[in-house]
Subunit: 85 residues, 4 copies
DNA sequence: GTGGTCTAGACCACT
DNA sequence: GTGGTCTAGACCACC
Protein backbone atom coordinates (compact mmCIF):
# COMPACT_ATOMS: atom_id res chain seq x y z
CA UNK A 1 0.00 0.00 0.00
CA UNK A 2 3.07 2.21 0.14
CA UNK A 3 5.33 3.67 -2.48
CA UNK A 4 9.03 3.21 -3.05
CA UNK A 5 10.61 6.64 -3.22
CA UNK A 6 13.90 5.23 -4.42
CA UNK A 7 12.63 2.67 -6.91
CA UNK A 8 12.65 3.02 -10.67
CA UNK A 9 8.90 3.39 -11.11
CA UNK A 10 7.79 7.04 -11.29
CA UNK A 11 6.04 8.11 -8.13
CA UNK A 12 2.87 9.13 -9.85
CA UNK A 13 2.54 5.71 -11.46
CA UNK A 14 3.08 3.95 -8.18
CA UNK A 15 0.39 6.05 -6.56
CA UNK A 16 -1.96 5.47 -9.48
CA UNK A 17 -1.43 1.73 -9.11
CA UNK A 18 -2.19 1.82 -5.39
CA UNK A 19 -5.42 3.75 -5.89
CA UNK A 20 -6.42 1.56 -8.83
CA UNK A 21 -5.96 -1.46 -6.57
CA UNK A 22 -8.22 0.02 -3.94
CA UNK A 23 -10.87 0.70 -6.52
CA UNK A 24 -10.70 -2.82 -7.87
CA UNK A 25 -10.83 -4.46 -4.46
CA UNK A 26 -13.78 -2.34 -3.42
CA UNK A 27 -12.09 -0.12 -0.87
CA UNK A 28 -13.28 2.81 -2.96
CA UNK A 29 -16.69 2.13 -4.43
CA UNK A 30 -18.40 3.36 -7.62
CA UNK A 31 -19.81 6.87 -7.44
CA UNK A 32 -17.99 7.44 -4.16
CA UNK A 33 -15.17 9.87 -3.60
CA UNK A 34 -11.54 8.89 -3.73
CA UNK A 35 -9.09 10.87 -1.56
CA UNK A 36 -8.77 14.51 -2.58
CA UNK A 37 -5.58 15.64 -4.23
CA UNK A 38 -4.55 17.23 -0.95
CA UNK A 39 -5.10 13.96 0.87
CA UNK A 40 -2.99 12.13 -1.68
CA UNK A 41 -0.24 14.68 -1.03
CA UNK A 42 -0.37 13.90 2.65
CA UNK A 43 -0.74 10.14 2.51
CA UNK A 44 2.14 9.64 0.08
CA UNK A 45 4.21 12.68 0.98
CA UNK A 46 4.27 14.08 -2.55
CA UNK A 47 3.61 17.42 -4.15
CA UNK A 48 0.25 18.27 -5.61
CA UNK A 49 1.77 18.04 -9.05
CA UNK A 50 2.57 14.36 -8.50
CA UNK A 51 -0.85 13.71 -7.01
CA UNK A 52 -2.50 15.26 -10.06
CA UNK A 53 -0.34 13.22 -12.42
CA UNK A 54 -1.43 10.06 -10.63
CA UNK A 55 -5.09 10.97 -10.97
CA UNK A 56 -4.56 11.94 -14.60
CA UNK A 57 -3.44 8.37 -15.25
CA UNK A 58 -6.54 6.95 -13.55
CA UNK A 59 -8.84 9.37 -15.36
CA UNK A 60 -7.32 8.35 -18.68
CA UNK A 61 -8.03 4.74 -17.79
CA UNK A 62 -11.61 5.66 -17.03
CA UNK A 63 -11.36 4.56 -13.42
CA UNK A 64 -12.15 7.93 -11.91
CA UNK A 65 -13.88 11.13 -12.87
CA UNK A 66 -13.14 14.60 -11.55
CA UNK A 67 -15.69 17.29 -10.86
CA UNK A 68 -14.32 20.81 -10.38
CA UNK A 69 -15.22 22.18 -7.01
CA UNK A 70 -16.69 18.91 -5.85
CA UNK A 71 -14.03 16.27 -5.86
CA UNK A 72 -12.85 13.11 -7.55
CA UNK A 73 -14.97 9.99 -7.75
CA UNK A 74 -14.80 6.36 -8.75
CA UNK A 75 -16.39 5.95 -12.18
CA UNK A 76 -19.91 4.47 -12.21
CA UNK A 77 -19.19 1.10 -13.84
CA UNK A 78 -15.49 0.77 -13.21
CA UNK A 79 -14.00 -2.66 -13.92
CA UNK A 80 -15.20 -5.39 -11.60
CA UNK A 81 -17.64 -4.44 -8.86
CA UNK A 82 -16.78 -6.16 -5.56
CA UNK A 83 -20.10 -7.98 -5.22
CA UNK A 84 -22.48 -9.64 -7.72
CA UNK A 85 -26.23 -10.56 -7.48
CA UNK B 1 37.90 -0.82 -7.87
CA UNK B 2 40.14 1.12 -10.22
CA UNK B 3 40.66 0.96 -13.95
CA UNK B 4 43.69 0.27 -16.05
CA UNK B 5 44.23 3.06 -18.50
CA UNK B 6 46.96 1.25 -20.38
CA UNK B 7 45.58 -2.27 -20.58
CA UNK B 8 43.86 -3.82 -23.60
CA UNK B 9 40.41 -3.87 -22.05
CA UNK B 10 38.30 -0.87 -23.13
CA UNK B 11 37.60 1.54 -20.32
CA UNK B 12 33.86 1.20 -20.59
CA UNK B 13 34.12 -2.57 -20.17
CA UNK B 14 36.34 -2.23 -17.15
CA UNK B 15 33.86 0.15 -15.56
CA UNK B 16 30.97 -2.13 -16.45
CA UNK B 17 32.77 -4.98 -14.75
CA UNK B 18 33.33 -2.95 -11.60
CA UNK B 19 29.68 -1.96 -11.38
CA UNK B 20 28.54 -5.50 -12.16
CA UNK B 21 30.69 -6.67 -9.28
CA UNK B 22 29.06 -4.23 -6.90
CA UNK B 23 25.65 -5.40 -7.97
CA UNK B 24 26.53 -9.05 -7.47
CA UNK B 25 28.07 -8.50 -4.05
CA UNK B 26 25.11 -6.48 -2.88
CA UNK B 27 26.69 -3.05 -2.75
CA UNK B 28 23.98 -1.92 -5.13
CA UNK B 29 20.68 -3.61 -4.37
CA UNK B 30 17.71 -4.55 -6.57
CA UNK B 31 15.34 -1.69 -7.36
CA UNK B 32 17.83 0.81 -6.01
CA UNK B 33 19.68 3.42 -7.96
CA UNK B 34 23.18 2.93 -9.24
CA UNK B 35 25.39 6.03 -9.56
CA UNK B 36 24.18 8.48 -12.17
CA UNK B 37 26.14 8.82 -15.36
CA UNK B 38 27.58 12.05 -14.04
CA UNK B 39 28.75 10.29 -10.88
CA UNK B 40 30.42 7.58 -12.96
CA UNK B 41 32.22 10.32 -14.86
CA UNK B 42 33.55 11.71 -11.61
CA UNK B 43 34.42 8.45 -9.86
CA UNK B 44 36.38 7.03 -12.80
CA UNK B 45 37.50 10.26 -14.39
CA UNK B 46 35.96 9.42 -17.73
CA UNK B 47 33.81 11.22 -20.28
CA UNK B 48 30.10 10.94 -20.32
CA UNK B 49 30.27 8.91 -23.47
CA UNK B 50 32.39 6.28 -21.72
CA UNK B 51 30.05 6.20 -18.77
CA UNK B 52 27.10 5.70 -21.11
CA UNK B 53 28.86 2.88 -22.91
CA UNK B 54 29.54 1.12 -19.63
CA UNK B 55 25.89 1.31 -18.63
CA UNK B 56 24.83 0.17 -22.08
CA UNK B 57 26.77 -3.02 -21.48
CA UNK B 58 25.09 -3.59 -18.13
CA UNK B 59 21.66 -2.84 -19.55
CA UNK B 60 22.24 -5.35 -22.32
CA UNK B 61 23.12 -7.94 -19.70
CA UNK B 62 19.89 -7.17 -17.91
CA UNK B 63 21.66 -6.08 -14.76
CA UNK B 64 20.31 -2.55 -14.77
CA UNK B 65 17.34 -0.69 -16.14
CA UNK B 66 17.07 2.98 -16.94
CA UNK B 67 14.01 5.12 -16.47
CA UNK B 68 13.93 8.48 -18.25
CA UNK B 69 13.64 11.27 -15.77
CA UNK B 70 14.25 9.10 -12.75
CA UNK B 71 17.57 7.42 -13.08
CA UNK B 72 19.28 4.06 -13.51
CA UNK B 73 18.49 1.15 -11.25
CA UNK B 74 19.56 -2.40 -10.45
CA UNK B 75 17.14 -4.79 -12.11
CA UNK B 76 14.48 -6.32 -9.81
CA UNK B 77 15.77 -9.94 -9.66
CA UNK B 78 19.32 -9.49 -10.81
CA UNK B 79 21.68 -12.44 -10.30
CA UNK B 80 22.20 -13.37 -6.66
CA UNK B 81 20.53 -11.27 -3.99
CA UNK B 82 22.85 -10.62 -1.05
CA UNK B 83 20.67 -12.30 1.55
CA UNK B 84 18.41 -15.40 1.51
CA UNK B 85 15.54 -16.52 3.84
CA UNK C 1 -21.57 52.91 -9.05
CA UNK C 2 -22.72 52.26 -5.48
CA UNK C 3 -25.41 50.07 -4.01
CA UNK C 4 -28.42 50.85 -1.88
CA UNK C 5 -28.37 48.73 1.24
CA UNK C 6 -31.87 49.75 2.29
CA UNK C 7 -33.72 49.60 -0.99
CA UNK C 8 -35.98 46.76 -2.15
CA UNK C 9 -33.65 45.55 -4.86
CA UNK C 10 -31.49 42.60 -3.72
CA UNK C 11 -27.84 43.48 -3.38
CA UNK C 12 -26.73 40.88 -5.88
CA UNK C 13 -29.05 42.33 -8.52
CA UNK C 14 -27.80 45.84 -7.89
CA UNK C 15 -24.23 44.65 -8.29
CA UNK C 16 -25.13 42.70 -11.40
CA UNK C 17 -26.65 45.83 -12.87
CA UNK C 18 -23.54 47.87 -12.13
CA UNK C 19 -21.27 45.31 -13.79
CA UNK C 20 -23.62 44.94 -16.74
CA UNK C 21 -23.45 48.68 -17.20
CA UNK C 22 -19.68 48.62 -17.26
CA UNK C 23 -19.73 45.89 -19.86
CA UNK C 24 -22.17 47.77 -22.04
CA UNK C 25 -20.29 51.06 -21.85
CA UNK C 26 -17.02 49.35 -22.66
CA UNK C 27 -15.32 49.62 -19.29
CA UNK C 28 -14.99 45.86 -19.39
CA UNK C 29 -14.29 44.62 -22.91
CA UNK C 30 -15.08 41.33 -24.68
CA UNK C 31 -12.73 38.45 -23.86
CA UNK C 32 -11.26 40.43 -20.99
CA UNK C 33 -11.51 39.64 -17.34
CA UNK C 34 -14.09 41.20 -15.09
CA UNK C 35 -13.15 41.66 -11.41
CA UNK C 36 -12.67 38.39 -9.56
CA UNK C 37 -15.26 37.38 -7.03
CA UNK C 38 -12.88 38.46 -4.29
CA UNK C 39 -12.54 41.89 -5.86
CA UNK C 40 -16.31 42.24 -6.03
CA UNK C 41 -16.45 41.42 -2.34
CA UNK C 42 -14.02 44.23 -1.60
CA UNK C 43 -15.42 46.85 -3.94
CA UNK C 44 -19.00 46.50 -2.77
CA UNK C 45 -18.36 45.28 0.75
CA UNK C 46 -20.41 42.12 0.30
CA UNK C 47 -19.94 38.45 1.08
CA UNK C 48 -18.63 36.03 -1.45
CA UNK C 49 -22.03 34.45 -1.72
CA UNK C 50 -23.52 37.75 -2.82
CA UNK C 51 -20.75 38.30 -5.33
CA UNK C 52 -21.37 34.83 -6.75
CA UNK C 53 -25.10 35.50 -7.02
CA UNK C 54 -24.43 38.68 -8.95
CA UNK C 55 -22.20 36.89 -11.40
CA UNK C 56 -24.71 34.05 -11.72
CA UNK C 57 -27.20 36.62 -12.98
CA UNK C 58 -24.77 37.97 -15.54
CA UNK C 59 -23.78 34.47 -16.68
CA UNK C 60 -27.44 33.59 -17.16
CA UNK C 61 -27.82 36.68 -19.32
CA UNK C 62 -24.86 35.56 -21.40
CA UNK C 63 -22.87 38.67 -20.56
CA UNK C 64 -20.01 36.84 -18.90
CA UNK C 65 -18.45 33.41 -18.95
CA UNK C 66 -16.47 31.71 -16.23
CA UNK C 67 -13.52 29.45 -16.75
CA UNK C 68 -12.40 27.28 -13.84
CA UNK C 69 -8.86 28.08 -12.91
CA UNK C 70 -8.62 31.19 -15.04
CA UNK C 71 -11.32 33.59 -14.07
CA UNK C 72 -14.47 35.32 -15.26
CA UNK C 73 -14.63 37.12 -18.59
CA UNK C 74 -16.86 39.31 -20.69
CA UNK C 75 -18.51 37.13 -23.34
CA UNK C 76 -16.99 37.33 -26.85
CA UNK C 77 -19.80 39.23 -28.64
CA UNK C 78 -21.67 40.61 -25.68
CA UNK C 79 -24.39 43.17 -26.44
CA UNK C 80 -23.02 46.33 -27.98
CA UNK C 81 -19.29 46.50 -28.51
CA UNK C 82 -17.86 49.93 -27.63
CA UNK C 83 -16.53 50.60 -31.14
CA UNK C 84 -17.85 49.89 -34.63
CA UNK C 85 -16.04 49.51 -38.01
CA UNK D 1 -0.75 32.92 -34.60
CA UNK D 2 -0.52 34.55 -31.20
CA UNK D 3 -2.13 33.86 -27.88
CA UNK D 4 -4.34 36.00 -25.71
CA UNK D 5 -2.81 36.09 -22.26
CA UNK D 6 -5.84 37.78 -20.79
CA UNK D 7 -8.56 35.84 -22.53
CA UNK D 8 -10.72 33.10 -21.04
CA UNK D 9 -9.19 30.21 -22.93
CA UNK D 10 -6.42 28.45 -20.98
CA UNK D 11 -3.00 29.27 -22.35
CA UNK D 12 -2.05 25.69 -23.00
CA UNK D 13 -5.16 25.15 -25.10
CA UNK D 14 -4.51 28.26 -27.12
CA UNK D 15 -0.98 27.12 -27.82
CA UNK D 16 -2.17 23.64 -28.70
CA UNK D 17 -4.64 25.14 -31.17
CA UNK D 18 -1.94 27.26 -32.80
CA UNK D 19 0.39 24.30 -33.26
CA UNK D 20 -2.46 22.09 -34.48
CA UNK D 21 -3.24 24.73 -37.09
CA UNK D 22 0.33 24.75 -38.30
CA UNK D 23 0.31 21.00 -38.61
CA UNK D 24 -2.93 21.00 -40.56
CA UNK D 25 -1.83 23.74 -42.93
CA UNK D 26 1.46 22.03 -43.60
CA UNK D 27 3.77 24.42 -41.80
CA UNK D 28 4.91 21.44 -39.76
CA UNK D 29 5.01 18.29 -41.87
CA UNK D 30 4.60 14.60 -41.01
CA UNK D 31 7.63 12.95 -39.45
CA UNK D 32 9.24 16.34 -38.99
CA UNK D 33 10.00 18.03 -35.72
CA UNK D 34 7.72 20.58 -34.12
CA UNK D 35 9.33 23.25 -31.92
CA UNK D 36 10.95 21.86 -28.79
CA UNK D 37 9.32 22.53 -25.47
CA UNK D 38 11.96 25.15 -24.80
CA UNK D 39 11.17 26.87 -28.09
CA UNK D 40 7.48 26.89 -27.22
CA UNK D 41 8.39 28.56 -23.93
CA UNK D 42 10.25 31.28 -25.78
CA UNK D 43 7.81 31.82 -28.64
CA UNK D 44 4.77 32.14 -26.41
CA UNK D 45 6.45 33.40 -23.26
CA UNK D 46 5.15 30.62 -21.06
CA UNK D 47 6.64 28.25 -18.55
CA UNK D 48 7.73 24.79 -19.51
CA UNK D 49 4.79 23.41 -17.59
CA UNK D 50 2.37 25.19 -19.90
CA UNK D 51 4.32 24.15 -22.98
CA UNK D 52 4.16 20.53 -21.87
CA UNK D 53 0.43 20.78 -21.21
CA UNK D 54 -0.09 22.06 -24.73
CA UNK D 55 1.87 19.19 -26.22
CA UNK D 56 0.03 16.72 -23.99
CA UNK D 57 -3.20 17.86 -25.63
CA UNK D 58 -1.77 17.36 -29.12
CA UNK D 59 -0.30 13.97 -28.21
CA UNK D 60 -3.68 12.87 -26.89
CA UNK D 61 -5.22 13.90 -30.22
CA UNK D 62 -2.61 11.83 -32.03
CA UNK D 63 -1.21 14.84 -33.85
CA UNK D 64 2.29 14.58 -32.44
CA UNK D 65 4.55 11.99 -30.91
CA UNK D 66 7.33 12.59 -28.43
CA UNK D 67 10.61 10.74 -28.35
CA UNK D 68 12.67 11.13 -25.17
CA UNK D 69 16.06 12.57 -25.90
CA UNK D 70 15.22 13.24 -29.53
CA UNK D 71 12.34 15.64 -29.70
CA UNK D 72 8.70 15.98 -30.65
CA UNK D 73 7.41 15.19 -34.11
CA UNK D 74 4.32 15.47 -36.28
CA UNK D 75 2.62 12.07 -36.40
CA UNK D 76 3.13 10.06 -39.62
CA UNK D 77 -0.40 10.25 -41.08
CA UNK D 78 -1.82 13.21 -39.22
CA UNK D 79 -5.14 14.53 -40.47
CA UNK D 80 -5.07 16.06 -43.93
CA UNK D 81 -1.72 16.22 -45.73
CA UNK D 82 -1.22 19.58 -47.42
CA UNK D 83 -0.77 18.15 -50.92
CA UNK D 84 -2.42 15.30 -52.87
CA UNK D 85 -1.10 13.07 -55.74
C1' DG E 1 20.69 19.79 -27.27
C1' DT E 2 16.00 16.70 -26.10
C1' DG E 3 11.90 15.18 -23.17
C1' DG E 4 10.49 12.84 -18.27
C1' DT E 5 9.96 13.58 -13.50
C1' DC E 6 9.50 16.20 -9.22
C1' DT E 7 9.12 20.27 -5.71
C1' DA E 8 7.05 24.45 -3.66
C1' DG E 9 4.39 27.93 -4.36
C1' DA E 10 0.52 30.89 -6.26
C1' DC E 11 -4.42 32.51 -7.80
C1' DC E 12 -8.80 31.26 -9.71
C1' DA E 13 -13.87 29.60 -9.70
C1' DC E 14 -16.85 26.25 -7.61
C1' DT E 15 -19.58 23.88 -3.46
C1' DG F 1 -13.27 22.63 1.41
C1' DT F 2 -12.67 21.01 -4.00
C1' DG F 3 -10.13 20.73 -8.62
C1' DG F 4 -8.05 23.84 -12.80
C1' DT F 5 -4.41 26.72 -14.21
C1' DC F 6 0.18 28.82 -14.07
C1' DT F 7 5.17 30.09 -12.59
C1' DA F 8 10.11 29.18 -11.53
C1' DG F 9 13.11 26.09 -10.46
C1' DA F 10 15.52 21.47 -10.16
C1' DC F 11 17.78 16.73 -11.55
C1' DC F 12 17.68 12.80 -14.54
C1' DA F 13 18.65 9.81 -18.86
C1' DC F 14 18.95 10.18 -23.83
C1' DC F 15 20.99 11.85 -28.42
Amino acid sequence: MSVDLEGPEPLYRQIAAVIAGRIKNGTYRPNRAVPSEAQICEEFGVSRRTARSAYAVLAEQGLIITVPGRGTFVAPQSSEPPAGP
